[in-house]
Amino acid sequence: MTQKQFINELAKNSGMTTSETTQLMEQFCTLVTECVNNDQTVMLQGFGSFEKKTKAERQMYNPATKDYRTIPGSTSLVFKPSTLLKDKLNPQQ
């Protein structure tokens, strides 16, 4: 599903116009990233949670070149699906 299809579907479900939905969606995304950046966990009931995950700096060894490289640490956005979502994805279980 592309962004366009998603917006159209979302507009249908929320009962708003497409342009309104596009604007709201942008604000929603920035809001989520802002919250996560402030070390907050965004929990959406029945869906999952968005968290910030910090990856530490590590050493990498390339056996082909026998070269050690340091990979810098990074922080990324991580999504953890909730049990409700898992149940929805696997209805037979």
Binding site: L44, G46, S76
Partner: protein
């Protein structure tokens, strides 16, 4: 992790930010969740710009062994939702900082750029007096060039300096060399080439400017060899130095600096290690 932001709080924040009612924000968030799940179930993946891509991945059935009983058991397959973030939080923060920097740099760069553009215009608008000054400089160079180029046609500039500083010495050397050549020619050629010898002897007597021609050829030959000898130790002084770390070999160093293991022999030769497999850690290795 810090505080938790649940659906209700997020909807309230969104309502504040977007300037809409809390109810519509709430319905929007709920619709977002519903649409994402439905989209994932129907299409398999949902791309959301600015957030990431949700993907429903099917994990196939797999066999495993019960450790206690040793029986083979089948673990049933299932669907899982994976999420690939569209943005790196670090990158986003860095991008924001960079955007600010770029804006600052642009401000600062624009000023000199304007000056630069103004430069050529100003150059075009130079007064006639300035142009004349430039023109008057040109003949001066032209006057100098024949003097320099005629006596030393092929010699490099350091030789000229050396030559000018030791003029009397070089003249005497040149005359001595010329005399030696003349004597050699006389001895070798004999009577038939007497006329040529006379011409050469005339040249010796002719004047200082004529000597410079021959001198240049002689002096350039002698001095060029001197300059080559002098340049070699200078070149060794410019070698890069690598301090040997634990676990490194000449081959790894060669790969690191030259992206080929073949330069290992060149490094070995340059440093004159008796045994390339036994170099103490911390040795400073010169790089060719």
């Amino acid at each position: 992790m810090g505080t938790k932001v649940n659906t209700q709080v997020l909807a309230d924040l969104l309502a504040e930010k977007a300037g809409i009612s809390k109810r519509s924000a709430d319905t929007f968030v709920k619709a977002f969740i519903q649409t994402t799940i439905d989209g994932g179930l129907s299409d398999g993946n949902v791309k959301i710009k600015g957030l990431g891509t949700f993907k429903i991945v099917k994990v196939a059935d797999r066999e495993s062994t019960n450790v206690n009983t040793g029986e083979r058991i089948l673990i049933a397959g299932y669907n899982k939702m994976s999420f690939v973030p569209d943005i790196d939080l670090d990158m986003q923060a860095a991008a924001d900082a960079e955007a600010e920097k770029v804006a600052e740099v642009r401000k600062t760069v624009r000023k000199p750029a304007q000056k630069k553009t103004a430069g050529p215009v100003a150059a075009e608008e130079k007064t006639v007096a300035e142009k004349n000054a430039i023109v008057s400089e040109v003949p001066k160079i032209e006057e100098k060039t024949p003097v320099v180029s005629e006596p030393l046609p092929a010699s490099p500039s350091p030789l000229k300096v050396a030559f000018e500083s030791n003029k009397p010495l070089w003249y005497s050397i040149a005359i001595a060399l010329l005399l030696i050549i003349v004597v050699f020619v006389v001895l070798l050629t004999g009577d038939s080439d007497k006329d040529r010898n006379e011409e050469q002897s005339e040249q010796v007597e002719a004047g200082v400017s004529d000597y410079q021609d021959t001198l240049s050829t002689e002096s350039s030959a002698t001095q060029s060899t001197e300059s080559v000898e002098a340049s070699q130790p200078q070149a060794t002084g410019t070698h890069r130095v690598h301090v040997l770390q634990k676990g490194e070999t000449l081959t790894t160093i060669s790969l690191y600096y030259y992206h080929t293991p073949d330069s290992m022999r060149a490094i070995w030769k340059l440093n004159k290690f008796p045994n390339p497999n036994d170099i103490p850690i911390g040795t400073e290795i010169l790089l060719p």
